[in-house]
Amino acid sequence: MPSARRGGGWRRRWAPARPQRAPASEDLRAPAVTEPAISPDGPLLRVSDLTKDFPVTSRSPLRRPTGTVQAVSGVSFHINRGETLGLVGESGSGKSTIARCVLRLIEPTSGSVNFAGTELTELNRKQMRRQRRFMQIVFQDPMASLDPRMTVAAIIAEPLQIHRLVTNAQDQVAELLELVGLHPQHGNRYPHEFSGGQRQRIGIARALALKPEMLILDEPVSALDVSIQAGVLNLLEDLQDRLGLTYLFVAHDLSVVRHISDRVAVMYLGRIAETGTGEQVYTEPAHPYTQALLSAVPIPDPKQERQRHRILLHGDIGNAADPPSGCRFRTRCWKAEAICAEQQPPLVDPGIGHPVACHFPETARVE
């Protein structure tokens, strides 16, 4: 691990890049749409009413469009500076699509993505590419996201070259390697010479090369063994403390999300079911889905496991191509009534301190 002194130096040298980014022309910082600003200088990222439709094509060789799958249906959230928002959900919940829409790696169908005052959905390709310098992504599978024929140094220096930020590539790479807990001398090695955990550190070093303000972490530890996972999670926490980073942490593992997140949003079939601080969502969940989800996660403690009350959901997560009307969870919900099929429950605070999208919210302790 690099020392604190070195960390300070890293920040001093790299911090001045920030003011350049603020768009001088217009003031887009006026509090946007649905949510109230929480931190004094406004959230770093504000996503409003985001939707993403994917076309469904026929199985014939002509691949005619036959309909759409709405992977994300009107999702709004914000992330304050220096904060971690955990986006958690099962497969098909739309969490990874959101991560990609925020960076416009996938084009959102509608809605707004506002990053530090800049409306990203209005930028052209060139402007967007420049913008990505401040928001970088780390993918799940480091083996698939690192070019096997490039040395680690070349991989880490590549973003610097693209953005013309190379001053002294060798030093910059060495510093980044050290920052993520790898040997600075190992830059001339290839990805296959590293273990899974080390490869993920390389992915993080590459993401940090441009001194971003925000990291989008898409299942960053899911492919790692538990003994390795802990080291990468600790690294992410340390980096956040030292560099003041903001994280959007996307994962399906509820325990990992609880561990790392300040605030959490639970997704179900393209919508947010419940959101709040980690404490609120995990100890006082009010959405039946959150309760079922939490009760389904086994805890590595046999005595506690035997005492737990488990809510077994029947069926699978529904089909996003043909989602249930009204509340999308109603087909698996034990509380569902007529209104649930008729009206989509809004994501509002029912008087418990955090927003829940349910017609019959009721806090319950799951543990």
Partner: protein, 362 residues
């Protein structure tokens, strides 16, 4: 639901050394598995012994490459021909290693059967689910085609597939991941096996579906009154389902015991380390995780002595020179560990119970 209290009236000679235990359903002694590869010999399993007893749920836990899957694939006789297997694997006293394939085939399914991680690749995509189950039934039981089909529908109903009588004609792609795994379980219990082996049965599934499948697995196990060997990397799943646990590291057993003993008083530094490294649902933000430094060894050239020694805080010269001692009793009935410097079970309360874990960088 959880498997509940451990079976109380069983002798648990978990030591599992020396002669095969004839009271066990499946008894493995000094199992070694090597694979010849272009890079050299991979020593996947390096001397493992265990027994499975009537009605118990035995978990074999470990990280990738620990040899947990290979050891049960060897028991099923499902390893590729280039695997060199030595030691002994016996089913109710009958040696399975070296048994002719024809005879082994007869045992597979009826004596022991297997549920794999990925049901999509283990089901035949061009055959209806019902036909696949019926096929397995007719290999072992003299049933007419329509009887076998009825039996398949019964089994699908047992594993909780709604409208089973109609669904027997469905193809695997018409099933969701959870339903496919249910179908696999139906197939596995079709011939009343003595022991059911589930290799990471829920790893590919979402957590709400995992809860369903663990439930179905336990229900299926009780329906045919078999033992279950559960192979998993998830200690939460172990705590929820198993009676007894083997922790494997680099092809050897590090620690074994009834789950309460191992989780509450882990004595092998690896087990204790694993428990301290997992983030838990019930511990809030701010508790520092304690990673295990380094990474698992290459099984092409495992380190001499104890394979965990390069990552172990308690390692001494002894550990670099000599392999770990054989499994020795920590506490009755079945808590054993193989370590030169085990933790004191009286003091080694699980690190999880300490809400303010130490900082690994300290």
């Amino acid at each position: 639901m959880s498997a509940g209290e451990p079976v109380p009236d069983k002798p648990m000679p978990g030591g599992a050394t020396g002669q095969p235990d004839s009271t066990a359903i499946l008894s493995v002694r000094d199992l070694r598995v090597d694979f010849e590869t272009d890079d050299g010999v991979v020593q996947a399993v390096r001397g493992v012994s265990w027994d499975v007893y009537e009605g118990e749920v035995l978990a074999i836990a470990g990280e990738s490459g620990s040899g947990k899957s290979v050891s049960v694939l060897a028991a099923m006789g499902l390893l590729p021909p280039d695997a060199r297997v030595s030691g002994s694997i016996s089913h109710r006293g009958r040696e399975l290693l070296g048994m002719p394939e024809k005879k082994l085939e007869r045992l597979r399914g009826s004596a022991m059967s297997m549920v794999f991680q990925d049901p999509m690749t283990s089901l035949n995509p061009v055959m209806s689910v019902g036909d696949q189950i019926a096929e397995g039934v007719r290999v072992h039981q003299k049933l007419k085609r329509h009887q076998a089909r009825e039996r398949a529908a019964e089994l699908l109903d047992l594993v909780g597939i709604a409208d089973a009588a109609r669904r027997v004609d469905a193809y695997p792609h018409e099933f969701s991941g959870g339903m496919r795994q249910r179908a696999m379980i139906a197939m596995a219990i079709a011939n009343d096996p003595d022991v059911l082996i589930a290799d990471e049965p829920t790893t590919a599934l979402d957590v709400t579906i995992q809860a369903q499948i663990l439930d179905v697995l336990e229900r299926a196990r009780q329906a045919v009154d078999s033992a279950l060997i559960l192979i998993t990397h998830d200690l939460g799943v172990v705590a929820r389902t198993a009676h007894r646990l083997f922790v494997m590291y680099a092809g050897r057993t590090a620690e074994t015991g009834m789950i309460d003993d191992v989780f509450e008083h882990p004595v092998h530094p690896y087990t204790a380390g694993l428990l301290a490294a997992i983030p838990r649902l019930d511990t809030p933000r701010g508790r520092r995780l304690i990673p295990i430094e380094g990474s698992p060894p290459s099984m092409l050239a495992p380190p001499p002595g104890c394979a965990f020694q390069p990552r172990c805080g308690r390692a001494s010269d002894l550990c670099t020179k000599y392999p770990p001692p054989p499994l020795t009793l920590v506490s009755p009935p079945a808590h054993l560990s193989a370590c030169h410097h085990p933790l004191d079970p009286q003091q080694s309360t699980s690190p999880l119970q300490n809400p303010n874990g130490e900082d690994s960088d300290a």
